[in-house]
């Protein structure tokens, strides 16, 4: 074996590794940045991690993701190991080609196609059998499907290199084929099974696209929450204080620009605060419609008065208190940049930064 490297080869290797690691290193470093701005180093701080512990939405999503990942990877390991045994040990059976194809295709199939087709399956199944409800079950089923492929490939290659004669010796000595497999071959492929479980676990934990399609209302996995945060800055349904969303704060004070923007961005009108007040009290016939169904459309200005109707008593009380204490600052203050792309809204519940790019 030669160990001489040409300088070019070494440079490319180092460059490639730098490409793979630099961004992650920067991300880790900046997670300890005391300043909330990405381009300013404000000193070392672990504050963000403590804040993480108090973010109910993120914690719930993380818990769901963990449950999905454990269930899906365990099921995938069972199915994938069986598939690997079938492909390696049974030279010929009807459907072998089909199984080979279905095991290899998910590795290259664009996730977006897998996601949309599986969603359509689940919706059709729901129509026919009233099962499965979109949420945990459907996410697990779809994750099992792609994880099984990875498990099969991993276990298959290990099983192929396993020494068959040991198992045959056991059978010659009178052990049944099942027992011979369990006692001889299974220990040999156990490392592959364990590593494929870990791989499935990671893949499931990391999946965004498929989960987004097959999940139902209320079931958001961690990547889905992170994606919406990265994409929108702060998602319009965060309710950091008393379970109130931005709409709950903006409506009673009539900050129309903020309300309009929040509705455009799909803020939920039916979100209930900790004391069960919805942001909007539905007027008799067709109020605003569901803003989430028309994310691009502007709310009808003639309907604005509904927005301002009936603020929650507590909010009125808060307003009165503020008036008594002569607080000048409104609950929300917003500012646009000249091109209309940026809005900063400051409020009592903290600093909200919405950075939009559409």
């Amino acid at each position: 074996m030669e160990n001489r490297y040409s300088p070019t080869l070494l440079t490319v290797l180092c460059l490639g590794i730098a490409v793979l690691y630099l961004p992650i290193m920067v991300l880790i470093a900046f997670s300890f940045n005391a300043s909330p701005l990405v381009n300013v180093w404000g000193g070392f701080s672990t504050a963000w991690y403590f804040q993480l512990l108090h973010n109910r939405q993120l914690l719930q999503a993380a818990l769901l993701s963990l449950e999905v990942a454990v269930t899906a990877s365990t099921a995938a390991v069972v199915l994938g190991t069986l598939a690997a045994i079938a492909l390696v040990r049974f030279a010929r059976f009807p459907g072998r080609l089909l199984l080979t194809g279905m095991v290899n295709a998910p590795l290259v199939m664009p996730e977006i196609i897998t996601g949309i087709t599986q969603l359509l399956l689940f919706v059709s199944m729901m129509q026919m059998f009233s099962w499965p409800h979109r949420g945990f079950t459907t996410i697990v089923l779809s994750h099992v499907a792609f994880c099984t492929a990875y498990v099969t490939i991993t276990v298959q290659s290990r099983l192929q290199s396993a020494d068959r004669s040991l198992e045959e010796a056991a059978m010659d000595l009178g052990s049944g084929p099942v027992r011979a497999f369990l006692e001889i071959t299974l220990p040999i492929i156990t490392p592959a099974i364990l590593s494929s479980w870990l791989l499935s676990f990671t893949l499931s934990l990391d999946d965004l696209v498929i989960s987004s399609f097959v999940s139902g209302p209320g079931a958001s996995t961690l990547p889905m929450v992170i994606y919406s945060k990265v994409k929108l800055g702060v998602s319009p349904d965060v309710a950091p204080y008393l379970g109130r969303t931005g709409l709950h704060w903006a409506i009673p004070y009539g900050h129309l620009e903020v309300i309009r923007l929040l509705l455009e961005r799909g803020a939920p009108v039916d979100h209930r605060t900790d004391d069960h007040a919805a942001a909007l009290v539905p007027p008799p016939a067709h109020p605003l419609g569901d803003p989430r169904r028309h994310p691009r459309g502007l709310p009808d200005p003639r309907r604005r008065h509904h927005l301002l109707a009936t603020p929650h008593p507590l909010i009125i009380l808060l307003g009165l208190l503020r008036a008594i204490m002569r607080v000048e600052r409104p609950l929300f203050d917003c500012a646009w940049d000249p091109s209309g792309h940026f809005l900063a809204a400051t409020g009592e519940a903290g600093l909200y930064l919405f950075s939009f790019n559409s």
Binding site: F30, V38, L79, F90, A145, S212, K231, R296
Partner: protein
């Protein structure tokens, strides 16, 4: 070796076969069916393709309007071509960067090899989404790259990389590089060294040995790696959506918007089916080489 011929083997074959059939293959049939439906204001938001009439006949109502629509609105054609172009050039760059890396790893000593492989695989264990976000932290207008370059005085105003094609390329190369390196390494490592020695004993200079022996023998790895990068890159959604701008419309984003933005499930299904048909060639090539390699 005599194959085990007993009914019990179906207990092993059937569970994975049936599961993948129901949850991986049959969904395509449903997508195919729904691509012929019409949008309807109900739950789920499309009409029935197959329904039974009051006198118990089956009624099949197919609508080709969704496919026609794909041809009338050029957003789909543009997005598809842009996706193909982006995936193609990203694959080439990954190959250019990944081949020397895999070659260097394959030539290292066994212990170094393991360390280097671990280094290549390790990013897989961090979140893909966070890696893309991390990349954004570097290339954004006020990111690390621009800050450093401005401080050094090499540039006087920030480079605009975010929301351009360049950002999408960087994202894809960064995320998919390991998929190129690993299969290449697998073939380069298995290369029969005596062939290389024979070639150089017969007087070939090292670069000719490389071009005439190493490269042709590594073709299966090149194809496997390229397909592992190319096919998912064509359908990539997260990278163009987080790093790209409005002009970097890739087919994955169109599909996502059609589905989540316009709630037009039939058109989204038609886009997915058309997309799948166009990818059938590359997927078949991948399957062919993969099966050949596994059986070898």
């Amino acid at each position: 070796m005599k194959p085990i011929e007993r009914p019990g083997r179906w207990l092993i074959i059937l569970p994975p076969l049936l599961f993948l059939l129901i949850f991986f293959l049959i969904p395509f049939a449903f997508a195919f069916k729904i691509s012929f439906a019409d949008t309807a204001a109900r739950v789920p938001p499309f009409t029935d393709v197959l329904s039974s009439t009051p006198d118990h006949h089956l009624r099949l109502s197919l609508s080709l309007a969704n496919y026609q629509y794909l041809f009338t609105d050029d957003v789909y054609g543009v997005a598809y071509l842009y996706s193909l172009k982006t995936a193609f050039f990203s694959t080439l760059i990954c190959l250019g960067l990944g081949y020397p890396m895999a070659y260097a790893i394959a030539r290292a000593s066994k212990s170094t090899q393991n360390v280097l492989l671990l280094i290549i695989i390790l990013p897989f264990w961090t979140s893909f989404l966070l890696r893309v976000y991390a990349l954004e932290g570097i290339i954004r207008d006020n990111g690390i790259l621009n800050t450093v370059l401005l401080h050094l005085g090499l540039i006087h105003e920030p480079l605009r990389i975010m929301r351009t094609s360049l950002a999408v390329y960087l994202g894809i190369i960064y995320s998919y590089l390991p998929f190129m390196v690993l299969p290449l390494f697998a073939t380069l490592e298995k290369l029969d060294r005596s062939l290389l020695e024979a070639a150089s004993d017969l007087g070939s200079p090292p670069w000719r040995v490389f071009l005439d022996v190493t490269v042709p023998l590594s073709i299966p790895g090149v194809i496997a790696g390229s397909m592992l990068v190319f096919i998912p890159a064509v359908g990539e959604f997260v990278i163009p959506s987080l790093l790209g701008g409005p002009n970097n419309l890739m087919i994955g984003r169109v599909l996502w918007d059609e589905f989540f933005g316009n709630h037009d499930w039939p058109v989204a299904s038609a886009v997915a089916i058309a997309f799948l048909l166009l990818l059938a060639g590359p997927i078949a090539v991948y399957q062919y080489y993969n099966v050949k390699q596994l059986e070898a």
